[in-house]
Point group: C2
Chain length 451, copies 2
């Protein structure tokens, strides 16, 4: 680092690279990127605003496609996932757990299922995965209590980028990657505090979340439903439940369309009561009414924010780049937001590897080459990732069709699963090899035009 924060010592091993990259945000995407860049010999430092890792202890699942991407970023990431209690869906082709399942929330008629394939998903606890990832990074590679407030780029783009933190300290780097999530400060630096594109906005859907003990859930839902993931759909709402904690609890997420604005954009989690959930699902099937009556009397509701209203026109500016939720925060209806972040990291590591090889063979980090890499990243990733943001909204709209409650119109709603399947398979069957090939080709072609 040209100008590290004074209170921190640099013990990171010298690498052969002249380039260093600052990563803002020590979440899963930031740490995966760090591991990937360390593998290719780039000097990298993570700046995390928290005192320590304190991710919400919620579950997170990756598709087998995303896990293959992780393996290409660095096989140690897959080991970290598996060492942190990752639970693949079964390896048994007949296991019903390998399906995603949709049910009419009113009639309980089975609507559709998609076979996720053997080991189609691996779920783990987010906080455990984060800890396992952190173990792959030298201790001086992560600076905590570093809340970014601004980034200064000199008019002379060859000069290092300067990061300014809330405590008045600074740091500098050849380039900055914002992995700072849905409330990204790097996004604000790129697009300006006044631009609506600098912020995620309320999707007018929120989710009640709570846990129900398995034995009670079985009484409400029956054993098969209670022990397997099900998505119940209906007009203006949908309810997802799946077993957690070694089948001892059922996690319930009850989504509700909301015509109002969210009261406080700084507080996306608000207290709620079981009565509110019961009110929202009062017309639904008896087994679901029973299920929500088993929720704790006091629980949380989570506002869903995303970048649907005001997508970023670019993920990059000069020597700054956005990756993961910082670039394209999505509602969770595809369960694939983190998978997009993994794809992003794979793409960016490949590009930095290209930059690095140029740097190594000759001159010092050329700001133009770094900017070209970020520009290529923007071209390669913006459409697919923003498509996911849109698609997540779209499938939520389809889950909430008014036709679900109307026997006469049921046929109309049913057809939407053709679309839901197409969208799901587009996520699952991503051709990352083609992305890598195209990324490399685009970058090299642009490099030729540059010189």
């Amino acid at each position: 680092m040209a100008s590290p924060k004074p209170e921190r010592k640099e013990a990171q091993a010298e690498t052969h690279s002249a380039m260093d990259i600052a990563i803002v945000g020590g979440g899963i995407v930031g740490l995966m990127l760090t591991v990937g860049l360390l593998r290719i010999g780039v000097r990298v430092k993570v700046y995390e605003q928290a005192r320590s890792f304190r991710e919400i202890g919620a579950g997170i699942a990756f598709t087998s496609n995303a896990i293959r991407c992780m393996d290409l970023i660095d096989p140690s990431i897959v080991s970290a996932l598996r060492s942190s209690g990752s639970i693949p869906t079964s390896r048994d082709p007949d296991d019903p757990n390998d399906y995603l399942r949709w049910v009419d929330g009113y009639s309980q008629r089975a609507l559709y299922r998609i076979n996720a394939g053997v080991s189609g998903f691996e779920g783990c606890r987010r906080d455990q995965f984060l800890e396992s990832l952190a173990e792959l990074i030298p201790v001086d590679g992560i600076a905590f209590q570093s809340r970014l407030v601004d980034i200064i780029q000199q008019t002379d783009l060859k000069a290092p980028v300067q990061l300014i933190f809330a405590d008045g300290t600074t740091a500098s780097a050849d380039a900055v990657v914002g992995c700072d999530g849905i409330k990204s400060q790097v996004r604000r630096v790129i697009h300006g505090n006044d631009s609506p594109a600098s912020y995620a906005h309320y999707s007018h859907t929120f989710a009640f979340r709570g846990l129900v003990p398995m034995e009670q859930a079985i009484i409400a839902l029956g054993e098969y439903k209670a022990k397997n993931q099900h998505m119940h759909v209906g007009p203006g709402a949908h309810l997802l439940h799946y077993p957690v904690a070694n089948n001892t609890m059922v996690n319930v997420a009850a989504f509700v369309r909301d015509t109002n604005d969210w009261p406080d954009e700084n507080q996306i989690v608000a207290p709620a009561t079981r009565r509110e959930v019961q009110e929202a699902y009062r017309d639904w099937a008896p087994c679901l009414r029973d299920l929500v009556s088993l929720l704790p009397e006091n629980l949380d509701k989570w506002a869903l924010y995303d970048t649907w209203d005001f997508p970023a026109a670019r993920f990059n500016k000069d020597k700054l780049c956005l990756v993961g939720d910082a670039a394209h925060a999505s509602t969770p209806h595809h369960g694939a937001g983190a998978c997009m972040g993994v794809e992003d990291v794979l793409c960016l590591v490949r590009l930095i590897e290209e930059v690095n090889s140029i740097v190594v063979i000759g001159k010092a980090a050329d700001s133009k080459v770094i900017m070209l890499a970020f520009e290529t990243f923007n071209t390669m990733r913006r459409t697919r990732t923003q498509w996911l943001v849109d698609s997540s909204r779209r499938v939520c709209d389809l889950y909430h069709l008014r036709e679900w409650g109307d026997r006469e119109l049921w046929t109309k709603a049913e057809v939407c699963f053709e679309e839901i399947r197409d969208r799901t398979l587009k996520i699952w069957h991503f051709d990352y090899e083609a992305m890598l090939k195209e990324t490399t080709r685009n970058f090299r072609e642009a490099l030729v035009r540059l010189s």
Copy 2:
């Protein structure tokens, strides 16, 4: 025929099949089905309400995928298409005509294009194709002036089905296929006069249609745009133009969202004035305002009807079956309604071939086997075809996004082309071989359960 209409003579060659099928509707789908069934030796008769063929002389285009389906139905259908002035998009990989092209109707910025491939489409005049198809059918195979009013099935399903026409004559057949288009009477017989699913409904979009002489269109649009298909999109409207009549005219279809109901559902074409079009496009790019000012002072507007609001829950009932627009009328925004009809015909001909082989080897046409074929057709075709109805509405919604007019939000609208491309390729890259395999397998498995 067990009981042919008395005034008509049966001169059709005797075939080895004991089964006869009545086809209601002598449009393109009805005649393709007739040709396909004649090839496999089924006795078939078409009942057409008009005095003669009098399809609207509009253009119709087929994807190369649909043309391969035609070839499997009967190669003579492809010959008929090519003998009726079919104009394939060029065979030159660099020809810009091979692209579908979308343009921002306000800024004229090029938004997206999809390469339809060499010879990706073949267009022809609908009336000429129909005439060429008719030449493949024995003269006594088509009965004109036969307006169906009802179909009677005996309680004993082994008895022939009786068709009743408006002039009081009757006919009978072992089974009836409704190819009678968007105003299908067979659909009403199946679903009942009181069911909204018996009728297509107004999509709240209409289209002004008119022709502009090429030399004038070139002054408005420039030569390149005038001579190539372009789709201009904008808030609440879109405008499609493409050259016709050997590049001497430009066909203009200007679509407009309509919040009102259509005044007369029996009259879907209404007179309109150029002033109305100018009013609808008053905020659009100058070149488009110029283009619409070149339309004739009096032109037509067409209401777009489809089966989106009330899809048919089934395409079959007993020994009746719906095919093409009669089953699933769509708005034209994918330009693929007729292609779906071709796929339908391919599927049904394969099924009747299966039925026929059973009939030939033993007993007479077994009504249960015919019903099973129609049931299999319903299973195989309903989802994809109704998906097209939905998808056509969806792409129209995307063309009409309010964001198109807003520079600040343009990025959001842009992403929709990822979805438009996916939808387009789903239509173009249909795996008809897989459909045929699955159709045969499903039918044979059901047959085993039947016996």
